[in-house]
Symmetry: C2
Subunit: 367 residues, 2 copies
């Protein structure tokens, strides 16, 4: 059984419609994964998350490693049982958080040593440890340990990080033992296209279950990001899933699907939801605005989410003004459903071989 | 059609099993009402609240009056639509909050003037205004405006408050126009039994749809409270519902049902839930405790709530330690279900005419 089966390709773009078969169900791609940082997609129950149409969610190895700790997750029955999520889960390698959140005390060809932002403990992480930890957590898709560079970044630092990322990916593959988990490699290289090409080509030689594009959406801007994605996907195999990490806005996702990307994760729907910022087809809605005081309309007319079917903007505004947590919960649910509806529209457009036109229309109206 | 139909009475106590018919469905009594202070039972969606078995919830007139304001609730379609709750709602009169939360700038026989704790605005409230506001909100059960006294309280202050409460109840009844709403009077009098008797007797002469016992659970202690309830219910008509406001612990509720009380409301299940404190048949559980780090048991074995069916104590402890809001949500849901299961057991025991024995057993094991 093919783990990744392409059902349709768009004749006017690189977009593909596929099914990824995991140990916890089939995932229709292009797919959007809500982020369950420390074991929960903030403020939502797994039941509510299922109702938004989510088939695959992300959990952060770094956060779980620090709290409650890998051994505890194992003792509690592994990640699926711990999170009460019986659909597919993807864990990242921890690289991104280590390079962005921490005081790195040592980085060398072996790996990194960092100081925990929780309790100051010194922790070592490298290819072998990151893979072993993810094997123990038991997600359906796990990621290679990579070196993430900031933006902007000097050419020599970028090159060094890419070489390490390639070598570490080889070590991750050597270490990976659990065949029920797919191991994805991560292409690095900033917005340096030849470096991205080199990184992609070397990783492809090692033959992974899928390929992620990391190190983007860190300040380079939409156009640089899409140019890099477009260039990189050309060097990735057609028959393996492609995952653009930490992306993005609806416009980012549509443009990246056009470039041949299959998977996305982002905190935007829940982070914005917590702040009273709702996504709609007609653009963003700030629910704290006075304009919504006596607004009896739902967040988005025609939306089938729990929030839109039951609550009006006036009530939501009141919840945000009075700090009732039901406001963040409801708008997070709406935003997650908005993203899942967007992915459904993307998949339908590819199935009908109308994606390029549909995408052009969407990007024009500024979704 | 009788609005309050008694189905069974316990032969060894004053406990009754009845059905209260409201404009938004039948309420099986004895009933526990979760508290939706400002239009939401904190952290729970109406759907989740229904799944706990809640048939009647309380909303606070005082909080809604200040934010978003009565006119706004009306513009948004009335309280049921505003809260997205299609079952029964009860609103209090605002008296309790005004006397406990605010800088009272004037109290006289007409009513009170107070300074809003939100924006410092001067607001007047009296029997007519409180009734009119509750008529406009549109709850199924509304309460008379009463004067709440602190505990302890001088005999003369208590007596004055009781006389005012009686006079204000008469004015509320005169003002009340919406026959689809039941109007309940509130018996005051602290723990002064003759004063309680006087207040109850005078209110009964005015003939209300139900009678509440207010001004308890304010520091007088379980025994004083139950003694007062026992004494007061004797002077209330058999054929009208009796409501003990703001009460309480499982033990308080069982003892008050024994004294003939039909209705309860309390923030304990949600407030304790938010703090990681779970109710169980075997006593309270503090989920933050280190003992639960690798605890794979549910909060309460055999509980049919969403939390217990899906999450173990170890995960819940992790959510509280990492400030994931899913922890408060899940434990609030468990506690609300715990209270509803308690009420079901109370109703079954009365139906079987075994309530007195069952209650004695429960109170012995310290529930």
């Amino acid at each position: 059984m093919a783990k990744f089966e392409i059902l349709n390709t768009d004749s006017d773009s690189a977009a593909r419609r596929a099914v990824l078969t995991t140990a916890h169900g089939k995932v229709e791609t292009p797919v959007f994964c809500p982020v369950g940082t420390a074991g929960a997609v903030k403020g939502t129950t797994p039941q509510q998350l299922k109702e938004t149409g989510s088939a695959l969610i992300l959990a952060n190895t770094y956060h779980l490693m620090l709290r409650p700790g890998i051994e505890t997750v194992e003792e509690l029955g592994g990640l699926h049982k711990f999170m009460a999520w019986d659909r597919a889960i993807l864990t990242d390698s921890g690289g991104y958080q280590i390079f962005s959140l921490n005081q790195l005390t040592k980085t060398d060809d072996d790996g990194v040593e960092f100081t925990s932002h929780i309790d100051g403990a010194k922790i070592q992480l490298n290819a072998e440890i990151a893979t072993n930890i993810q094997n123990r957590l038991g997600a359906d898709i796990i990621m290679c340990f990579d070196e993430c560079t900031p933006f902007p970044c000097s050419g020599s630092q970028l090159k060094k990080a890419v070489e390490r990322t390639i070598r570490w990916a080889g070590r991750c593959k050597q270490t990976h033992t659990n065949s029920s988990q797919m191991l994805f490699a991560i292409v690095q290289g900033g917005i340096d296209l030849p470096l991205r090409t080199h990184c992609a080509s070397e990783l492809v030689k090692l033959d992974f279950d899928g390929y992620a594009i990391g190190g983007l959406s860190v300040g380079e801007g939409h156009d640089n990001m899409i140019k890099t994605v477009n260039s990189t996907t050309k060097f990735l195999p057609q028959d393996k899933p492609r995952y653009l990490m930490g992306v993005g806005t609806p416009a980012d996702i549509i443009a990246a699907v056009k470039a041949g990307v299959d998977m996305f994760d982002c905190v935007l729907p829940t982070r914005n939801g917590r702040n009273g910022f709702a996504f709609t087809e007609n653009g963003p809605l700030r629910l704290r605005n006075n304009a919504h005081i006596d607004d009896t309309a739902p967040v988005e007319a025609g939306c089938d989410c729990y929030c839109c079917k039951n609550f009006c903007r006036g009530t939501l505004r009141h919840f945000f003004k009075t700090k009732e947590y039901l406001g963040p919960i409801l708008v997070s649910l709406h935003n997650l459903r908005f993203y899942q509806r967007l992915m459904t529209k993307i998949r339908r457009a590819i199935e009908k071989n109308e994606f390029a036109d549909w995408a052009a229309e969407q990007l024009k109206t500024g979704s």
